[in-house]
Amino acid sequence: MTSLSLERITKTFGSTIALDDFSLAIESGELVSLLGPSGCGKTTALRVVAGFEVPARGSVFVGGADVSRTPAHRRNMGMVFQSYSLFPNMNVAQNIEFGLRTRRLSPVERKKRIEEALELVQLQKQAKRYSHQLSGGQQQRVALARALAIRPDVLLLDEPLSALDAKVRSTLRDEIRRIQKESGTTAVFVTHDQDEALSISDRVGVMSEGRLEQLAPPEVVYSSPSSAFVARFVGTINEVDGVVENGTIRVGPYQFRSPRSGRADGPVKILVRPEHTRFDETGIPAMVRQTVFMGASKLVDVQAEVSARVIRVQLPGHVTSPEPGSRVNVSFDETKALTDQ
């Protein structure tokens, strides 16, 4: 029904380039999270979609229609903010009704939608409360109900959970996902928390310096990061120093060809996840420092002989791990390893 796409958006604040030729296409009913370090332009991207920031260049399309010139209050976007945004002079029901009144819905229709929205976030009993009488989690749920009651084309969430404590955060996160799926609303979820992004999204967009580094399903972003930046930002990763010689990557005696690296000869950093490493005769000679049993898996930290770096190896939980102090050789899943200068 309503897809969302941003095409070649550039937005600057003075000399800061918040969005740099930024493009993003989201399908109808999909939840895409924007993940990235502080200041990479996530909020700005959301605000451009909402109509609160006017980009210097580029267009925003909703359901195929260009809304770039539509003022914020005519865009039909539901927005949930990081800070508490309930109107303090209205109770929960009136907050939800606000957007229905501006749409001039009949009292009957308004009442019906308020009840639906309250039920969606399970706050029927709190309908008459004011924001100062609600907990942080409840306030964000009302904000969500208020945004959804208007049946928005796109739901925009800017770190809606960051002000909440860990337990409330994870329950509300799941609730947001459930509600978003049930209502089939297209949604953009901004966060700088990778667990949040990986667990809630259909696709994750990793941003860096105003650009989209990678847009892919969570598993793909995790297991096949498109760049060193994404690899470092999402999940834990080993960094090992090596050199490229005639297209072959070498770390001490260990050498391999990486299908994902076309680097010129010279020093290189190899990026590889703990689960993409293994013990193997041909690998890098190393000494086991410690082993941590994690239940389903085992983490073995080894010190490579050729470099000062510690390499973390992840083994299945049932495999017997080498004793601390013993000598091992570590090699990588060559199809998964990335390189960086």
């Binding site: 209050h73 009488q133 907990s135």
Partner: protein, 282 residues
């Protein structure tokens, strides 16, 4: 810890008490002078409860001029308060949202009417008077002057109110829900600024009821002008009116304060068994 807190509380009460006495004494003295039929040099502790009466104001109430002056001053107070609401509030909101860096400059500009003596404003009025008779002839022409005179106080209270709310988020929430600027201002911002606007109105009324210089220059018969004049012929009646106007404004605003208390009770979150359990609906 508790004894320190207790001491601090005691200290605070003491300061409050001293403050109350400081303000109450002259007020009581004025009230006694105005409402007690006792010779001034006999006003002492022994005569505290003797011969109180309202006769001193009844003659003032008998004057038509008094009622005209009262009506004009009420109109001026209302007009000034409305002008402030319709011009100053949107301006302050705009400054906060669009040019937050200019807040200090605007703040400085709004103090000027306080720093510049009223007589300078009067001199200005005298200069434009011959050219603006059509405007200055109207009694309500005082409204813009009073709005400017009240500016140092009204702007400060509205500014404090704007700083106390999350203006940007509330505005954007409202806009994203389909409200234009007008609706946002009327239905979200002004209600959220209620207490700031009440105190700003209070200060406006105080300025209007206390201003004499400009009214005198423009020959407007406002309540302060009437009282100043009346005091010449009947000192006790003049002071009686002053006491009454002070009491009336205080009561009025105490009433508004009570009427606009935050709804939904003081701290209802605590009267619920355990709000934290609601966070994890099964």
């Amino acid at each position: 810890m508790t004894s320190m807190g207790g001491q601090r509380r005691l200290g605070r009460r003491l300061i409050l008490l001293i403050g109350a006495i400081y303000f109450a004494f002259p007020f009581v003295a004025m009230a006694r002078f105005a409402f007690q039929n006792v010779q001034v040099f006999d006003l002492g502790r022994s005569t505290l409860f003797e011969n109180w009466s309202l006769t001193s104001v009844t003659s003032a109430f008998g004057e038509d001029y008094f009622w005209d002056a009262l009506r004009l001053s009420i109109q001026l107070a209302l007009g000034t308060a409305l002008l402030t609401l319709f011009v100053l509030v949107p301006t302050a909101v705009w400054v906060h949202l669009r040019i937050p860096r200019a807040r200090a400059v605007v703040e400085f500009l709004t103090v000027l009417p306080y720093v510049i003596p009223a007589i300078a404003l009067v001199a200005g009025i005298v200069v434009i008077k011959p050219h603006a008779r059509w405007f200055l002839n109207s009694d309500l022409s005082l409204i813009p002057f009073y709005a400017v005179l009240a500016l140092p106080f009204t702007y400060r209270s509205i500014d404090a109110g704007l700083r106390a709310i999350d203006l940007r988020t509330l505005t954007e929430a409202s806009r994203s829900l389909g409200a234009g600027w007008n609706v946002t201002l009327r239905r979200v911002l002004i209600p959220s600024l209620k207490s700031a606007l009440i105190s700003s109105t209070f200060l406006t009324v105080a300025v209007v009821l206390g201003e004499y210089t400009i009214a005198d220059v423009l020959l407007k018969r406002t309540l302060p002008a009437f009282m100043a004049e009346y005091r010449q012929s009947d000192p006790r009646g003049g002071y009686a009116l002053a006491v009454l106007s002070l009491l009336a404004t205080t009561l009025l605003f105490a009433g508004i304060g009570v009427a606009t208390r935050p709804r939904g009770g003081r701290n209802p979150r605590t009267d619920e068994p355990s709000p934290s359990t609601e966070e994890t609906p099964s």
